[in-house]
């Protein structure tokens, strides 16, 4: 089974991009072994979801120094080598992945689809620049899912 887990908070502007992507992916014609979940602010809910899948793609708003709306797939290992990776959510997603590995409940493969946010202001919608990229992001995610 392959899981797509959207992480984020729609009340915080572009922080909600993971949720928007997950909601949109549910409307796509995905293979029968793919399940899509919105896990909100993440945390331990992510941990409980991870153990159900062989492969997982986490979709989250991540600042990685690119232009707003830019996106990239990367593995947790690539981020572990960087200092101070942290989402805007209370619990660091990487810590949750590490915990899942230590208790042998981790999927065989985890990918993070990070989308560079423009604004994380309370109450804002997704920025127009991210809205414009949404269809590209969904297409790339669908391709990636089909290639796993």
């Amino acid at each position: 089974m392959i899981g797509i887990l959207g992480i984020g908070n729609k009340l915080r502007g572009d922080d909600g991009i993971g949720i928007v992507v997950a909601q949109s992916m549910k409307n796509r014609d995905l293979p029968s072994d793919v399940e899509v979940y919105e896990v909100g602010s993440g945390g331990l809910k992510v941990l409980h979801r991870l153990e159900n899948f062989e492969k997982v793609i986490l979709v989250d708003s991540v600042r990685f120094g690119e232009s707003p709306g830019d996106y990239s797939f990367f593995s947790p290992e690539e981020v572990k080598s960087m200092k101070g990776f942290s989402g805007t959510h209370g619990t660091d997603v990487l810590e949750i992945i590490e915990l899942s590995e230590k208790i042998d409940k981790s999927p065989e493969e985890i990918l993070i689809l990070g989308v560079q946010p423009k604004s994380l202001s309370l109450g804002d919608d997704i920025s127009p620049v991210l809205q414009d990229k949404l269809s590209d992001i969904l297409d790339e995610l669908e391709k990636k899912v089909n290639s796993l």
Binding site: S72, G90, K105, L120
Partner: protein, 437 residues
């Protein structure tokens, strides 16, 4: 992809910050301060003029961990104001929902936040290497509690199915039977958890300070969480409607959160207060675990709140099985999908108290004839405990300042705050201790 540069921002979704200041000069203590700096939330103003069917939806957002408790307290206050009757079936289901949250929250605290202190680890991550099986057990029980909350409330946080007058959807008998089987299976995990806590409980500081314990109580043999009357270990029982005479909130200079006092200069709410006031009503296995872990009434060691929480986890699991048995024995009355209970909207004031994981919670609303909130008051457990934390520190620090170095004092005080499981403890290392020599 080679390098990933990520800008780090301050964590944005913390539920507040707490600071500890110890100011000592040549061994003489000049100041000990527990300071809460979280921003006021203004929920009582947010609900003003909102319709009765939105009050619980909004106040649920006061807390992401206790959202079921806030919803239930809010609904009970609204139902009290409008004389809305709740069926016996729905009352049983609501008790089940509350147990689900109690287990969720307590296991999260004891397992992920407090145990690393006792195991001498920085967090649950290194503990997963040194105590792998124990961490797996914690995660299994936590996951079960999440499933239980999802089944009864529709989701684990901010429940959708709980509405004034009942539920929009209820679980099927088959789902309840399945849950009961999982609860039964979890008993061995609970015993394992108890044995882990017992093996590490020697690390809990040996500190006592007599204080007042406030919780719900009742005249039946039910351990009171969902319903009951108020009780103080000092002054005895009183009606929930008289809560303002018991809960005296006041403002202190050092804190943006209100403190509270009753008969003494501070009181404690939460698992330890409940166990102290209602020990005899605990389920048989919960009592067994309490005895095994040396939790006897009256217990004045605040660090034992961790143990009391574990005892309550056992009680909640055991009582949940009883509740499911009752529901199945009496036969579940079916509801149409998206059921909307009939509510006769009217003006009035309603007050409710529910025991949520961190202690007794009060919601108090006054509605106009259109069912819109005119006045609201919510008294949160964590705020009721701030004064007691301050008094504990004032009593504890003089005893340890000559024996322990700064790091040990810091850890002892952090563990004290964590023992109260305040809602601001989003991480195990959120506290800043400043020593001014």
């Amino acid at each position: 992809m080679g390098e990933v540069n990520v800008d780090v921002e301050h964590v944005t979704r913390v539920e507040g910050h707490g600071n500890i200041t110890v100011n000592a000069q040549d061994g003489s203590i000049e100041d000990i301060k527990w300071t809460v700096t979280e921003a006021p939330r203004f929920f009582e103003s947010l609900v003003k003029d909102k319709s009765y069917d939105n009050t619980a939806r909004i106040t649920s957002r006061i807390c992401g961990i206790c959202s079921i408790g806030h919803s239930l307290t809010s609904l009970k206050a609204t139902e009290d104001a409008m004389d809305i009757e709740i069926s016996e079936q729905d009352q049983l289901l609501r008790r089940l929902a509350l147990h689900g949250e109690n287990v969720q929250s307590h296991v999260l605290h004891v397992g992920y936040l407090a145990l690393p202190d006792l195991a001498g680890k920085e967090s649950v991550i290194p503990m997963a290497s040194s105590h792998t099986e124990e961490v797996k057990t914690v995660i299994r029980v936590h996951k079960l509690a999440n499933e239980m909350s999802r089944l009864v409330c529709g989701r684990t946080t901010h429940p959708r199915r709980l509405v004034p007058g009942g539920f929009t959807k209820i679980p099927s008998p088959l789902e309840l039977e399945d849950l009961r089987g999982k609860l039964e299976d979890s008993v061995s995990d609970l015993k394992e958890l108890a044995s882990v806590v017992k093996s590490l409980s020697g690390e809990l500081p040996d500190f006592e300070r007599e204080t007042e314990f406030i919780s719900l109580t009742n005249d039946s043999d039910e351990y009171p969480l969902y319903d009951g009357q108020l009780v103080s270990s000092d002054t005895g029982a009183s009606a929930v409607d008289d809560y303002e005479e018991i809960v005296n909130e006041y403002v202190v200079e050092q804190s943006t959160a209100k403190y509270a006092k009753s008969n003494r200069d501070a009181y404690m709410v939460g698992a330890l207060a409940r166990v102290n006031n209602n020990y005899e009503k605990l389920s048989p296995l919960a009592k067994e675990v309490a005895e095994d872990l040396g939790l006897e009434t009256m217990c004045y060691n605040p660090y034992m709140n961790n143990v009391a929480q574990l005892v309550e986890v056992v009680h909640s699991i055991e009582d949940s099985m009883n509740l499911i048995d009752q529901l199945l024995d009496r036969g579940l009355e079916e509801q149409e999908p998206n059921y909307e209970p009939d509510v006769d909207v009217k003006s009035g004031r309603g007050i409710a108290a529910v025991e949520v994981p961190r202690g007794i919670l009060f919601h108090d609303y006054t509605y106009d004839e259109d069912g819109r909130v005119q006045k609201a008051n919510c008294v949160i457990p964590t705020n009721q405990n701030h004064g007691n934390i301050q008094k504990d520190m004032e009593s504890l620090v003089p005893n340890i300042i000559d024996e322990k170095d700064e790091d040990e004092i810091e850890l002892t005080l952090e563990m004290l705050v964590r023992a109260y499981d305040p809602c601001i403890s989003c991480s195990t290392h959120y506290l800043d201790v400043d020593f001014v020599e």
